[in-house]
Every structure is written in C-alpha cells, then in structure tokens.
Symmetry: C2
C-alpha cells in the first residue's frame, strides 16, 4: 500500500502521525500543506479535508483525517509494534494521556486559534504567549502527575516501549519550548522525552527533518 | 461491576459517557461534581482527576479520565451493542467525526476556557458568544460536509445504529443552541439529531434528566 500523508513540518498533529508511521516501519510520501500560506484553505485540499486541517492520510481512495483516528487505524491494520498495550485499563490510561494533549492542550494553541486570537480578538503578542503558556502548563502539570503517580510509567509513558501517549507528548513539548514554558517542574516528562529523542522513529519524524522544513 | 461516574449535568464530555453507558445498558451511580461551584478543583477530586475535569469513571480501583478513552474502554470491555463499526476504515471515519467535536469544537468552548477568556482576557459577554459561535460553526460545517458526502451516513452518523460519532455530536448541538447558533445550514446533522432524540439512551443521558440538573 502506498501511503500519502498531507503534512506540515511544524504541525504537532501531523507530527504524531509521522511518528506512528515511522514506529510501524510504514513508508509514505509526504505531501506538504503550507499552513502559514493557507494552502489548507484551498478548494482542492478542502475537498479531502473539510475541516481544512492536517494531517490527512490516504492510500488513494479514502482520506482519513484527525490524527488520533488515523493512528488508531494504523494500529488496527498494522498491529506490530503495538502503540497501545493489551489490557483494557492500560489502554484507557494511554488514551487518557494522549487525549490530555490532543483535546486539552493542542486545540487551544494551534495555528488557526492563535490567528483568531490575534486578528479577531486583538491579543498582543505577549498576551498570545501567555495564553499558550497557561494551557500548556495546566496540561503538562496534570500529565506529570498522572505519570509520576503510576507504577505503569516506565522508560516511556507506558512501560518501556514508545506508544500513543509518547507520540502526542513529544510534539507538544516542542510547542511548549516555542512558548518559553519552563519544563523544569516536569522531571518525568523530561526523562521520557530524553528516551524518545534516542528513538529512530522520533528522530525521523522531527520537524527539522521534513522536506518542507524551513 | 458497580460503576461510579463523576459527572456534571451540563458537561458535554460527561454527557457522551452517559450516552455510552446507557446504550450499552450499564448501570452506574452518578456522582455530581458541580463545575460552576469549582468542586472539580477540590483536592479530593484532583486526587482522582489531575486535570480537574469531568467525567471520571471508576469501579473502585482505577479512575479513568477523558471521555473518549472511557468510551473506548467500555467498547473493549462491553462490546455489545458496538459503538464502532467493524471495518477499520469505517472505524476511522467514526473516530474522525467524534474527534472533530472532541478536539476541535468542545475544548475551545468548555467552561474553563470561557472563564479564562472572560476573566483573564477580558472578553465581553457578546464577544464570548461570538467566539463560541465561530468554532461551533466551523466544526459543524465540516461535519455536515463529511456526513452529506458519504454513503456510509445512515439514520445515524454511521449506518442505522447510534455510535461514537452520534454521542459526541448530540451534546455539542445543545451547546450550539445555548450559543444561538443557527442550525438550519446543517440538515443532515438535524436529521440525525431527530433520530437520536427518539433513542432511550440519548433520552436518559439528557442534562435535564440528571440528578444534579438545575
């Protein structure tokens, strides 16, 4: 199957899918969609992504949107190596960590929201950064607690192999640094990040390594 | 198994789980967490929900957070009736629709964000409603397109039985009406809502029927 991934190098949602594809050893063609040039709003892209968001994954017929839906699809169709543990409670834990990023941090800070806050609401650049920091800190503090209090946390968010929670967390830390969030209060998160940084799939998916990196 | 659900009658995230439990015929004890009285911020609730959000589901030992993680858990442990179709591409479609609500509409408009916009950013009540409408309209328009263009859409979002996409969509429409969003441009969504309104599980999960309804 020849995969095509509509992606933007700095999109943390697209980045999650790039990590998942790399962890599963699935090759794909990257089709850059330049978000800052509004290419996602073009009619031909909206025809495959009515939400006008990246990522979109396709093998030619179906166009799959929403990063976590795409990753669950990859998990179901290419189960090895697994990105979720086998036990239902453990799976719920990993999904909870992933959704704490994907629902409660990222959507508040993605490009379309920051643009709206700046241009429609009139936030200053300083207020915009304060907004980002507020939601990132709230989210990371809760995630740090969830990780620190659970014996299931290992070298990675769950056990000693990388999975769904890690591939959501790592891109979010990149955005945290761009917003100058102090990561010192999150030692477990930083330790997991260090482990991910040594993993070839995480290295390959890094924004700086993408064909559309600037 | 005796389930306990920490819930708030108007929380659309808790409402999703209430529908899922009802669809699967699972009885539970509702433990109200009064969000407007900040009960979610109390130390005893934060001990089980570090994000200080509802819903949380427990059977006494594990405390599961994040509505979609909880619902996937229920789906895996109580597969009948299914809330997701069997085919992986179809599952991705349903999850995409669910996440379009859960990631890209709801998190921008939940109570903690509206409060922050009002008290920290200083938005007027009118600007606050405009903010809500903006993201609800953007999300519902995309969902309407996804539903209208797919032959997989049936009496419900996917086929003729209610599932994960429906139980995200219906609570969001309640919030849309509270923000005076005109739903006329979304005929497929309105038709699906009418079907859900006849379903006993959706009726039982309605905010007005909850023990903490005001």
């Amino acid at each position: 199957m020849a995969w095509r991934l509509y992606t933007y190098y700095r999109s943390t949602a697209a980045w999650r899918v790039r990590i998942a594809l790399a962890l599963k050893g699935l090759r794909y063609e990257a089709v850059p969609v330049h978000l800052r040039k509004d290419e996602q709003l073009a009619a031909d892209y909206r025809a495959i992504s009515p939400q006008a968001l990246v990522p979109t994954l396709t093998s030619g017929e179906q166009f799959l949107g929403q990063s976590l839906a795409i990753i669950e699809y990859l998990e179901e169709t290419h189960p090895e190596p697994p990105l979720l543990p086998a036990d239902p409670v453990a799976r719920a834990r990993v999904r909870q960590l992933a959704l704490a990023v994907a629902c409660d941090i990222h959507p508040l800070n993605n490009l379309r929201v920051l643009r709206h806050l700046k241009h429609q609401i009139g936030l200053s650049d300083a207020a915009l950064v304060a907004w980002q920091r507020h939601w990132i800190v709230a989210g990371l503090a809760a995630i740090e607690t969830l990780l620190a209090q659970s014996p299931a946390t290992g070298r990675f968010c769950h056990g000693d192999t990388p999975g769904l929670a890690d591939l959501c967390l790592i891109p979010q830390l990149y955005n945290a640094r761009r917003a100058d969030v102090d990561l010192a209060p999150y030692p477990v998160i930083r330790r997991i990040e260090a482990a991910c940084r040594e993993n070839p799939a995480f290295i390959a998916a890094d924004p700086a390594r993408q064909p559309d990196a600037e």
